[in-house]
Structures are given as C-alpha cells and as structure tokens.
Symmetry: C2
Subunit: 402 residues, 2 copies
Amino acid sequence: MAFLKVVPLEKALEVVQSFKISPGIEEVPIEKGLGRIAAEDIYSPIDVPPFDRATVDGYAVRAEDTFMASEASPVRLKVIGSVHAGEEPKFKLGKGEAAYISTGAMLPGNADAVIQFEDVERVNGEILIYKPAYPGLGVMKKGIDIEKGRLLVKKGERLGFKQTALLSAVGINKVKVFRKPKVAVISTGNEIVPPGNELKPGQIYDINGRALCDAINELGGEGIFMGVARDDKESLKALIEKAVNVGDVVVISGGASGGTKDLTASVIEELGEVKVHGIAIQPGKPTIIGVIKGKPVFGLPGYPTSCLTNFTLLVVPLLLRALGREGKIGKKVARLKHKVFSVKGRRQFLPVKLEGDLAVPILKGSGAVTSFIDADGFVEIPETVESLDEGEEVEVTLFKGW
Amino acid sequence: MAFLKVVPLEKALEVVQSFKISPGIEEVPIEKGLGRIAAEDIYSPIDVPPFDRATVDGYAVRAEDTFMASEASPVRLKVIGSVHAGEEPKFKLGKGEAAYISTGAMLPGNADAVIQFEDVERVNGEILIYKPAYPGLGVMKKGIDIEKGRLLVKKGERLGFKQTALLSAVGINKVKVFRKPKVAVISTGNEIVPPGNELKPGQIYDINGRALCDAINELGGEGIFMGVARDDKESLKALIEKAVNVGDVVVISGGASGGTKDLTASVIEELGEVKVHGIAIQPGKPTIIGVIKGKPVFGLPGYPTSCLTNFTLLVVPLLLRALGREGKIGKKVARLKHKVFSVKGRRQFLPVKLEGDLAVPILKGSGAVTSFIDADGFVEIPETVESLDEGEEVEVTLFKGW
C-alpha cells in the first residue's frame, strides 16, 4: 500500500516501465494495413524491377554491336523478334541482331540497351542505327530500384499509403501488425453525465471519457469507454472490475469533486495493489498507479488538461512500448511567448499553445474545456526554476503525432 | 470526343470543377466520429459551465457580506447548508449566510464567491472570515468557458480527439459527417500482377492500386480496388463498367506499356464521353478525364510518381470538394537544395523530397518505386522558366496532410 506518499516522477515512470502489456501481433491483409503499426522489420523478398526492363519503346540491342555507328556509316541490325510488356522473351540476341521491345518489357538475353524508335530507321526486316548506344541506355537494371533484402518498413513504423504501396510493389499482400492495445476508460464524478443525456442542474457533460478514448485511438490503440462511475465505492468498484476484464490497461479520470481520489485508491487496493499514490508534479499530485489482476490501472486527475498531461507522461509511453514505438512521443522546440512564473520546489508541466515557433503559455486554468482545446502540448519547468523568460527556448511535448 | 488534343491544365481543372459528386451526409455516434469530416458548422447548444461552479472546496458566500472582514475584526457567517458536486442546491443565501460547497458544485442562489477551507475558521455552525472575498473568487462563471452558440467545429474540419472531446463536453453525442466518397481504382497493364500472386518472368507487382486506394482512404474517402485490367478492350471495358457501378468516381492508372492510353480513351468514349485526352503538363501528357453514366472517370499515367502527381492535381480537389474541404491541399514553402533545369514551353511538376526547409529534387525518374517513396510532394516549374536556382524559394504541394 502506498497511500498518500508522494513520489518523484522518475519513480512513477519506473513503475510504468515495469509493466508488461503484450497485446500481441496479428497478420492483416495489406488492404487493411493502412494506419496500423508494423510488428516486425520488413525486407524486400524480390529485386525491383525483377529483370532488366525497357524504359522506352524501341529496339533491344547488344550495345557493343553499335559502338561503330555514325551518321556517315550506320550500323545495320537484323530484327529477329519482339517483346511486349508482361511477356517472357523466348529468344536471345546473337551478334548483329535486335528485337522490337515495348516500355516495361523484359530485355531478351544478351541485350543490354534499348534504342528508342525515333533514333533508328527501319528498313524491311532491319534497323539502321546512326549513333552508338551505351550499355544501360533505355534500361532499368534488375534490382536497381529496390534490391532484394532491402529494409522497407521498420518495426514500430506506422503504415501510411506509401508504406502499403511499397509493400504491394514487392508483392507482399499480408502484413504483421501489432494488435491494438485495449484501454478501458472510466470517468468518475457525481456531477458528470455522458453526452446525449439530459443535463440536470448541477451536472456537467463528460469530456475526459471521449478525449482519452480518441487520443488512444489516434495513437494506435483501442479506447473503450466503460461509463461514468458515481463517487461511491459500489459504483466505482463494479465499473473497475468490468474494465479490468475488458482492457489490457484501465484509465480512470477523477471527477473534480474532492474525495474521489481516495475512493479510487481504496477500490484499487481492494481489488489489487496501489503502486503509486501521488506524484511530485503539478498537475498530477493525486495521480494513482496500480495493478489489478496483472493489468495496469491509472487514476488520473479530473481536470481535462491535467488529465491529458498525466496521460501523456505516464500512459502514452506504456502504449507506445506495446506498439513497438517506444520513444516516439512528439516534441518540438519553440520559444516562449511570455515570461511565466513557477514555484520553486515544484516540478511543473505548463500547457502551451503553439503559434508557429512560439509557445504561448495557457494560464486560463486546467479546469476549462477551452484550455484543453487550445493546448498543443506542455513545457516542463524543473523544481529549481522560478521563472522562464520571454523568448526562452523550450521543448514542447506534443499532445498528438505520437 | 477530345482524342489527342492536349489542353492546358486550367482547362482540365475547369472540367474537374464542373463535376458534381455528392456522396451526401450521414449522422454517426460521437464514438465513431474520430477521423471523419464535419458536414456542418457545429455550435454549442449550452453554456459551459452550465452554472456558476465552485473551483475550490470551501464556503459559498455573498461577497458583499465579507467586504468589512479583517484580521482584527473577522466577519461571522452562519452556515445554513451544503452543496456537493452534481447536486442542485435547494436553498438561497440570505444576508449573513454561507454554505459548505465542494469543488465542481453549483453555487446556491445569491452566492457569488467561494472562500477555500484554509482561509476560514469554523466555529460550531458559523465561519469566521479574516479578509474580504471579491465577487467571482473561487467561481467559474456560467458560460465563461464556452458560451452557448459558440462555433465549435467548422464544416470541413477533420474531427481529431480534441474535437470529439469538445463535442462531448457540450453534450453532443451524434455528429453529421460527410459520407466517404467511394473511388473505384483500376490498374492496367499486361505486366502488372496484384501482390500475393506468383511473379512470372516479365511481370511486376502493382503499386498504383494500393497507393491510390490508401491515399484516398487517408484523405477521408473510400478507395476500392477493382483489380488489374489487361491491355485489351474486353478486359478493360468489363472492369470499368463494374467500377462505374461501385464508385462515385473511377480512377484508372495506365500500365507502362505504350498503347494503353489510347485503349482507355476508346473504352471511356464507348461507355460515355472523353472530356480531356492529354494535358500540357509534365508528367501528365497522356492523362484522360471522362464521364460515364454521370460519374467522373480519370485515366492517370502508370509511373507511380507521375500517377500520384496527377492524382493530387486533378482528383484530390474533387474529393476534397465532396468532403467540404475545398482548398485544403497541403502546401509548404521550402528552398531548393540543387539547381534544376527545365524545358522552356513545358509546364513541369518536379517531385521533391523535403529535408527540413530544403526541397531536394528527385531526378531518379518517375518510373522508380523509390522515387515515389522519397517524394513528399512536387514543385511547379512554369512554361516560361528554364531553371530554378539552388536556394530559390519554392512552394511544395504535399502528397499528404490533405
């Protein structure tokens, strides 16, 4: 039991680091691969192109046969056949021989250059060539584009349309991706009502449930909203037990009302173990980290910006690790638009809005929905620092682009 | 019939502009809204918070009752009740009265300030106040965060996790989004084989089918791959007829082999009408725009980078318009890393790779898969320009972030 014993952030991160969630790997058809995260390094099984390929319409030749060609004394080659795209040539060129070839087609044996139509004269069964062709002219050599064995996609890489197209181009039609880690999300608070319901006096609509679920979805996980728990033990306990069965991870956001945080810790302790109860950061002092049936359970602050900040600090690294994307938290260097003051001895994470290269501190208060909407990320202010100056360079940890 | 009559890009864009595709609007639950495009401006139906709300645990008071308070002569107020978060207070404060209130709770009638616990002394049923409270202290006023009627999401805006959370916070649980425009995609070429099949000598794997489908999917449409047509009339005609029944738009990418482009134009003309056959741009000279049964049909070049460039120039604007996102093509200003030469009288779209603020021209040739993978977008070189200098400022039209 670790009730009310505030620990440094490093200690909390150690606890997170000790968690193992392994949603596993699944193979999906390439047409379902878009947006998923590769679960292994993928290498090209073939050379691209898989053969020496004509890049123009014209005549395949042995370049050496043309070296003596000139305007005054053209070289004469015998046209012995033709190759169209998609065909396998059934013949080889002998000395003094050429073949009609179309763009994209495979060069016949012994051919090493393609002279385009415009540069030859066809006379009956022969062509006249007026200047030398060098080996490789009009040819894309086998493997020059992508050699067999080349690394195409790295483990942990998100598959965008270029990645799926690349895999298609080397013939891969199934891809191993990480299963989406399932995160069961609970909101708490007597005053909190899910959207779509009537709002009675004294009640407000839930924001954290949707915010957490969809932030998890954008990150590549699967956010599953379990509902709003009331500030009583039975309600919270029932919902947490359900959540532990559904999710690989459980995330609970506290209501704004006092007392909820202790309730959450009590229920987690009853069902499993509280590992951390309180972190020496602002916001995040009431944050809880626990384990129930081997599954990590997080209790985050209720104020939306605080909730998202602690989610980014603690839960995102765990989910990224499960997706093979460790360390992929988005950061951006910016300059502070205004001077800000902090309290010495308090490690603060200040929400900021980005305006180009400027980071604008959001001072409206983390209880405001509009603070949450405006915040693009946060800036850390260490314990030892009392203020950051206008124009000071800061590193912004982003709330997106994980 | 517009066979082989090359037109300026402006004329081709006029034809595209004349197309009307209206996939329509659908209402989805907010938990299915992530990543969709809002089909209407969405305004807040409520004030947030919907009532004057305590931001601290403490005592709700009438500020004017405390104006005379001082250390030497504290004001004494009678505690007449309590309000917890989620409750509707059933009483109003009279002169000289206060009420216990928890964070997030609704202020009782006549209360206009909340003094936190630490700043009062409780003695039996009364509290002692040692300094004046100003109206608004410890209170988040009704509507101060989001006023009723405020524009929250604009028509055409992509719903990220912040947007869905914002809608949730004002109680909206259904959202009108644009249906995804369906785009039926056909690859053509005797040498082209879909991934997953055995590659025979002379054949290569399809790249454009997957590239186009997933670029369309990332843009917010639905790309549906119809298959690879062989370079013969029957095969192509059968697939185009099927595609016209499936898609709101049909996109065909040509094989690299010569003759295909005329075949495609012939089939479109037989089934409908060719509007444009050839555009005075490079790449894009063989591009076809037609209409079959009222549905736009595009024939794009077969080389992957050329295909994607013409897709971005011609098809993307149509799809963005259908999604209410007209003009949302991503652009970025960069400086050219190397000098590049162009041909006077030819309007060129040069693929480039972005390295920070530098645009690196891709000169490998648009037939290469790796050119396609490297290209982040393209730079336009007008007819009148023969070269662009190293370091010159250019506008890059991006292949993503639509």
